[in-house]
Subunit: 525 residues, 2 copies
Amino acid sequence: MLLRTQGKPRSQTLKRKTPMAKSNKTAITPTRDQDYAEWYQQVIRGAEMAESSPVRGCMVIRPWGYALWENVQKAMDKRFKETGHENAYFPLLIPLRFIEKEAAHVEGFAKEMAVVTHHRLEMQDGKLTPAGPLEEPMVIRPTSETIIGEAFSGWIRSYRDLPLKINQWANVMRWEMRPRLWLRTSEFLWQEGHTAHADENEAREEVLTMLEVYREIVEEHMAIPVIPGAKSEGERFPGAVDTFTIEAMMQDGKALQSGTSHYLGQNFSTAANIRFQNEEGDWEFCHTTSWGSSTRLIGGLIMTHADDDGLRLPPRIAPDHVVIVPIIREDSQHDTVMAYAEDVAAKLRAQSFDDAPVKVRVDTRKIQSQEKRWDWVRKGVPIILEVGPRDIEEGKAAFSRRDQIREKKQFLTIAEIAGEIEELLWGIQSTLFEEAKAWRAARTREDITDLKAFEDHFNALKGNTFNADGGFVKAWWCESSESEASLKELGVSVRCIPLDQPEGEGKCVLTGAPAHRMAIFAKSY
Amino acid sequence: MLLRTQGKPRSQTLKRKTPMAKSNKTAITPTRDQDYAEWYQQVIRGAEMAESSPVRGCMVIRPWGYALWENVQKAMDKRFKETGHENAYFPLLIPLRFIEKEAAHVEGFAKEMAVVTHHRLEMQDGKLTPAGPLEEPMVIRPTSETIIGEAFSGWIRSYRDLPLKINQWANVMRWEMRPRLWLRTSEFLWQEGHTAHADENEAREEVLTMLEVYREIVEEHMAIPVIPGAKSEGERFPGAVDTFTIEAMMQDGKALQSGTSHYLGQNFSTAANIRFQNEEGDWEFCHTTSWGSSTRLIGGLIMTHADDDGLRLPPRIAPDHVVIVPIIREDSQHDTVMAYAEDVAAKLRAQSFDDAPVKVRVDTRKIQSQEKRWDWVRKGVPIILEVGPRDIEEGKAAFSRRDQIREKKQFLTIAEIAGEIEELLWGIQSTLFEEAKAWRAARTREDITDLKAFEDHFNALKGNTFNADGGFVKAWWCESSESEASLKELGVSVRCIPLDQPEGEGKCVLTGAPAHRMAIFAKSY
């Protein structure tokens, strides 16, 4: 019975309304329809995931948000290690002379770098004042190619030292004038992979391997469908020869770049003198790569799965799989109900999901049980069980799935729930993924083939609204710089040139010229 | 046979010489005896754990060093969560107005804070120049009490919100004029716990609980014996009411503060307005705590366990438990020896240690096998196995324990090794711990009872030398500020007033006044 709806999108209409809602009141105000941008803020607030800080552009990541990031980290770190990478850590500060070494790189980041100019504070006229000016100012890393390149140049001597495959988990800073929680903050947490190789082929293979690792984590753990592809010239990482990306579609139809992987050629190795002696004894510059993904992914998670009642979490990255809410109406019931709740928790923890015990929390807070229930709805826990005095005799619980929270609760035996929990969690995982894929499919236009139709399509949009018809336009593109530059006015960009391409050729949607590949066009975050 | 020497200190003389050395040549030059400070640098270099960076005072943590930190993190994080803490993340930058709020705090850190004054770079006269001056400068966090206090003041409303128990894994910066790898660097990685409680008792209990967690991780995982105790007035954290510490002894007899836990009273809650409504509806200030430990612990690990051949790792935090070095003299042997090495690895990985599979690495690098062996000796891997063509038929390997690396290799069957590996690793773990405890015991003086003897003892030391007689002096102390201040001249400090105190009273070693508690005096890092 539990499994009846597993693995299938809840609603084939894909409207993500709340069918069978007992009341029209949603747990989040406003709804996506009323004010998408504000809804996003309120989902974050309602789930206690993060908040703005008194430091301009920086956010505080609250425990529920951090736990999600930890789970993403754990899944990624495992795959990084399995693909032969080791973690290391490099300085937070980068002297200006390193940043200057790669011209395109410095130009790309100069406008958004926090600069450290002093190394102590002094009281002057009763006021705390910067003192101890540095001979050379330093920037807080916006990314670490230059400082890691310096280390690599010392570590690499011979072809025997290659490939060198390093990852760093770190905070970075890119000054933001218009910050937005998770999506665009001055400081953010991320990982940055940096590798050096003897030849281009191996380096390019690494770039695509790591893109595939990102795809795997984002699709298979976070249940966010993405399109892996190459970035166009105008969207490349400053200093890269080629940039690859995974692009996701948010519920407002905008694209979110969710991870990038760069082939840097010999640009950075030449700038930082990363050389090796090949088997013949000649010195060559290495081919390097870098790839990164960040806490921005959590913003993507929200905008992919949250609904008007708050967050919905794919079980593979949920901090708790099941929350048990004890229903206690009189003090005299307290001990027996709590004991039962713990007993149910123990039975479920004895089950496994995704190669680990099922994660179960008993909510023991001293607040109303209805308040508890809605807290966990807003936080997106996949399964909520309510247990009261009446359930003890029958060995039952009131069962709700977060992805069907407006449906009628089912009263099920603990044996039933325990027996099916693993399959149930996998079912929720795939339901969320399938829903998001269907959402994207319904908002991807492949029938726009000329500039007029293209312009009309994007001009018709009223900015940042829920369920906008915008979405992705997939069309043939000639890949000329001029045509890419012309998109700026429309507020549209080439999101990627998908790795997966149809046979044949076509006519460029922007210029009418012959085109060899199709591209994804969209507004974006 | 393997187990014969397990659990016992290798050498009862505690000289840590290298008995039965086939050659006098050590893997590290100079030895501890010759130049202790330089030996420390060379151990780090030889194990490829870290190196200085071009950024003044900041180090690069190389993969082997980072893997150790990751293992410490993993062990600690588990215990933090088991003791009811959640991880979160707060901004790197702190506006000056927050730092200013607690007077003692700002005074304690003002001299070592990196200050951010600009938010972009511009080309001026062909030179990259800081631009976009900030209205209010910000410091890179030296610790986060003030910025976390601000968040707590928003999260806490009622006694129902308490206790609030948060931990942060982060980088912090305290400008260092005399940096030393791992021990004292301008930037370091750490964790900082921050909790808020309704009353003093509960807060003080938290402070001691976390001190005990530190003791447990440092002693039971890192095999570094420590003395838990209270800090004297002169050594307290700026702004704290009470500071507790765990103090370890390095091989030069100096103390290393290895983790601190602070009861902050209502000092920070008053400064940051962290208040709650109690059950009667009255507003009260919270009692807060903070506690921290850092990558400095890795420096302590080195100075506790390393010898003249390099690092020696306690198995519980070793990145690899066993390294297999294939011995290949002719190309024709390559495939069979490698296949055998992988087979041995698989058999050992099927065994478990410390509730996880035994971690085994096969060293496949294309370098001489002797070079490989000594690389792993310097890196401190607990067990090294060498396998060559001759061993295959007999199903054997040449077995070495890192803590007995100068003993004769034993030729053992894989079945023997696999059968005893778990016990063997525990044996190495306890051997290292027992050796370090004996080392400390032999260098702790409890027979110094007056000022003359005390001064003579510390004056006799010639600074920072291996196996100095300095070590710890444990003596009765009257705890007066004057007597503590008088220690400065000697370069000695009160390391702690141990939690574990003898019965009775005594006469202060410094002043002759009556004393109620004994203290540990030492030179320190």
